[in-house]
Symmetry: none
Subunit: 535 residues, 2 copies
């Protein structure tokens, strides 16, 4: 079983996609998740380009990654100047990553016209940059931009640029179909030539402009490439980069290559959805392998046959990629999902309880909830359902739900004059441990004001809430057709010294949705601390 | 230049897609449009399956089609009964189409287990059905369901079913990858064997479960297939059928096959969007060739290079498929981006003005604005900067900025009790045309309440605001580190009868950010209408 390395560039090339914008926290969360499923290389950004990428490279060193090597991306040195004084290369090295990926020019026309230098100097720029970074102890990958177009224009020169990189010590050269216009048989032909001509590993980097990025990546691997670059869900500029989800599933299941780590295939669906949530994008229902509709059967003939034997209309079992079959109108979560989500609570034996949880989840999904990025809200839901399900009390480590406080009322008032910042005041009236607390707080906005008033009321009783802070806040309209009267889903990410957790609230009123997510965040923190203290 | 026939099954197999539902009128409109661009075969439905399909076949005879032959779809005769008395075949013939397409079983396992008959009888069912329809004067296509899976299980028998169809007079046999699980090189290999073994034409019918439907269809054509079946935009069950848009563009532009009719390629984008409209589906921005983002450029390096020479980041010219290039105003904006964005205002000669606009954009981006999805706010910004830039007055068609109303104050109040929906009231005090308007509105949430109060105040002065509605509302935190006190960016999408436009607002207060985006949306509508009326 040959090994193929996965190189994820969601955080760099993916963020070039229209409307894609990761916060620093998003970038770190995605890095952790990709590491967990066994992605080998994670390209974190372009350190020279903006301060957010710079901060990322500082913060990512604090993560305890098990599999992945973080890569910093940058360009070859400037023309006619030494590598040692190049600002871009300096920024690359200052990122302190184990891997640096250097992109350079292949196409003779670009070298002379866009770069404005000689063909020789371009090769020297490539070789010097690779050599310099390698001498500083980095594993160096060389991304050959526009490789297939350059090779068509001048095959000899295109190969020469690769040899410059390989000769200078690049661990791999990556052939980029930057414009996404190359056909699969051509990719296979050129990759075969390059792998024969070079002493190092060869990778492939495809874009989807002809809807052939997956086919091109597979063709390259079959022709000898050992690294595939792409993004989660294929996000990226124009029509996107290749979708690594489809690449991974096809390589592993159709061609039996060794990809990721054992057991990771069944996490593809949740990983895909997590990446969508972080990018604040809507998932694509028809996405191969992991889409909500990927194993949905509507045609009467089909559903009947699938009930008889799923292989009649399914090329793989949905469970193999962590997805699920959907038949008729059951648009929602299935039993298997709930089982796998609640596995940690050791309730597998209790079919009646998992069924109750499933129904609770389905009811909430029907009104717009999504638990993909809100595991803390799901956790609270499990506690709530389990509390009312008397016979179950196996896992002593799970504290059943109890309310930590009761809301009596809240009020928010926002007032603005002709110009300038509005004044916002929130008041809450809670019952905590039998006592009525009535507090108020100003805030930068309504959610901030409510959060302030809530904490003021609670912190006297639960001092560890001081440790907790909100790190992200996202709003998505659930039924966009209704405009400002639509239902909204608020997802809040919170953090304390040890954990990050997501909660969700849904309402037609954004303030109420925020309130629900805020309360879940606080309650999860309180349960979590109690259980940790018991250990 | 070899000819490849396009067989569109949007109305039959496409309508199996989740959420897809064509009215009779939609079906007729799409038929007309497909005929206009030169599609050869249009599969209109399954006459036995439902009354709408039956009505379609009656109505479609009234259309004056220039190129297309309409096809009716149905199954082979039932087992152990003559074709002459078969209800399904009768319904097929009663559709009175020039072509009938008959689907039958290839896979020995399905014949014995699902169909419950003998391998010989299945071949007789195929042959009888084809022969009977042909004897009634129809051109007959035979769709071999599960062909690639059946061929893997029992190649000899799979070929025998095709020969039964060809021997009975089928004009073409179509190899279906029904489950979408076959890899491109396998498709090519099997198609080559089949074309050598059969006297008739061979077609291909792919599904996209492995994200390889386009690659598989192209591989089949290169191996000898002369007909491609698929759907507009790839709609269809599970992950969809192959997207004919991509197939057509690749066949014509990359392989120089003769497809559709001369001049049709430039209509691909409008045809794709028309099909989305009819199916009441949202277009996919990243769709190859025809997506809104397919030729959108965001990265600074990219936009600079594209401005110099589009071929640096485009594999074809967008105009070739009726699409257009878009330069996104993003955090990586430079002068070239602003120049190309403002080209329509004819201010290229005025360097000082574009510099002022660039600075205004950069200042706003620094505090969290993004204009990528907010072209209307960018438009207002250009008007505002241009107004203060005295020397420039070249393009008379651009109305310089003037405020349509002034805000004196607004207030929003949200109150909630222990449970249930909060009550929300918004009040606004505006000065409009010298008059002070003070109005109030309840709403489902604070933005809805403000929107209601704003419209109430303005509609008396600007009645065309009635035409406008909000269609989407998105919120992102700009500096997530600050949690609920972070700055938020609100993006609103609005629509009237003719246009869709995006606006943006940024503030630490979500209500203020929403207010800004709402006001921009209203002002853009008012400017837009004035300018259109002047024309």
């Amino acid at each position: 079983m040959s090994r193929v390395s996965i190189y994820d560039t969601t955080l760099r090339d993916g963020s070039q996609g229209e409307g894609v914008n990761f916060s620093l926290q998003d970038k770190l969360l995605l890095t952790k998740r990709l590491d967990e499923i066994g992605v080998e290389y994670i390209e974190g950004g372009y350190p020279l380009s903006n301060p957010k990428d710079f901060e990322y490279f500082q913060a990512v060193r604090g993560l305890d990654l098990k599999h992945a090597k973080v890569c910093a991306f940058g360009m070859t040195r400037r023309k006619n100047a030494p590598a040692e004084t190049d600002t871009c290369l300096k920024a690359l090295l200052d990122a302190h990553t184990p891997v640096v990926t250097i992109v350079g020019k292949t196409w003779d026309f670009h070298v002379t016209e866009v770069l404005g230098t000689t063909l020789d100097e371009n090769c020297a720029m490539i070789a010097d940059s690779v050599q310099y970074c390698k001498a500083q102890g980095r594993e160096v990958f060389y991304d050959a931009e526009h490789f297939f177009d350059g090779y068509r224009a001048n095959p000899e020169y295109a190969l020469r640029t690769l040899k410059a990189a390989a000769g200078a010590g690049a661990a791999a050269v990556i052939l980029c179909d930057t414009n996404g216009g190359t056909m699969p048989e051509r990719v296979a032909e050129v990759v075969a030539i390059v792998t024969r001509a070079l002493p190092c590993e060869v990778g492939i980097h495809c874009h989807n402009d002809c809807e052939l990025a997956v086919a091109n990546s597979l063709a390259a691997v079959r022709a000898g490439a050992t690294q595939v670059q792409g993004t989660m869900n294929g996000i990226g500029e124009r029509c996107g980069n290749v979708d690594l989800i489809s690449v991974i599933a096809n390589l592993a299941m159709k061609y039996k290559y060794d990809v990721l780590k054992p057991g990771s295939l069944t996490r593809l669906t949740e990983t895909s959805r997590y990446a969508y949530e972080l990018a604040n994008m809507n998932a694509r229902n028809g996405q191969p392998f992991v889409g909500h509709s990927a194993f949905a059967h509507k045609g009467g003939m089909h559903t009947h046959a699938v009930a008889k034997d799923p292989s009649t209309y399914e090329h793989i079992t949905p469970e193999a990629v962590g997805n699920e079959r959907r038949i008729l109108v059951s648009e929602l979560s299935g039993h298997s999902t709930i089982l796998s989500k609640t596995a940690k609570y050791q309730m597998n034996h209790d079919k009646a309880l998992t069924t109750k949880i499933l129904h609770a989840v389905q009811d909430l999904e029907n009104v717009g909830y999504e638990f993909e990025a809100a595991e803390a809200s799901f956790d609270l839901l499990v506690r709530k359902v389990a509390k009312d399900h008397k016979p179950w009390q196996v896992d002593k480590s799970l504290t059943l739900y109890k309310p930590w406080f009761e809301r009596i009322s809240y009020r928010v008032n926002i007032e603005a004059r002709a110009n300038g910042t509005p004044i916002t005041e929130g008041t809450v009236r809670l019952k905590v441990a039998g006592v009525v607390e009535h507090t108020a707080s100003e805030g930068d906005g309504p959610v901030n004001a409510l959060d302030g008033a809530l904490r003021k009321a609670l912190v006297r009783f639960y001092p560890r809430l001081e440790e907790m802070q909100l790190v992200d806040y996202k709003v998505r309209v659930v039924n966009p057709k209704a405009g400002t009267a639509a239902k909204v889903r608020v997802v809040i990410e919170s953090r304390d010294g040890t954990d990050v957790w997501g909660t969700v609230g849904v309402s037609e009123n954004i303030i109420e949705a925020s309130w629900l997510a805020l309360c879940d965040a606080i309650e999860f923190k309180l349960f979590k601390d109690v259980e940790r203290d018991q250990k």
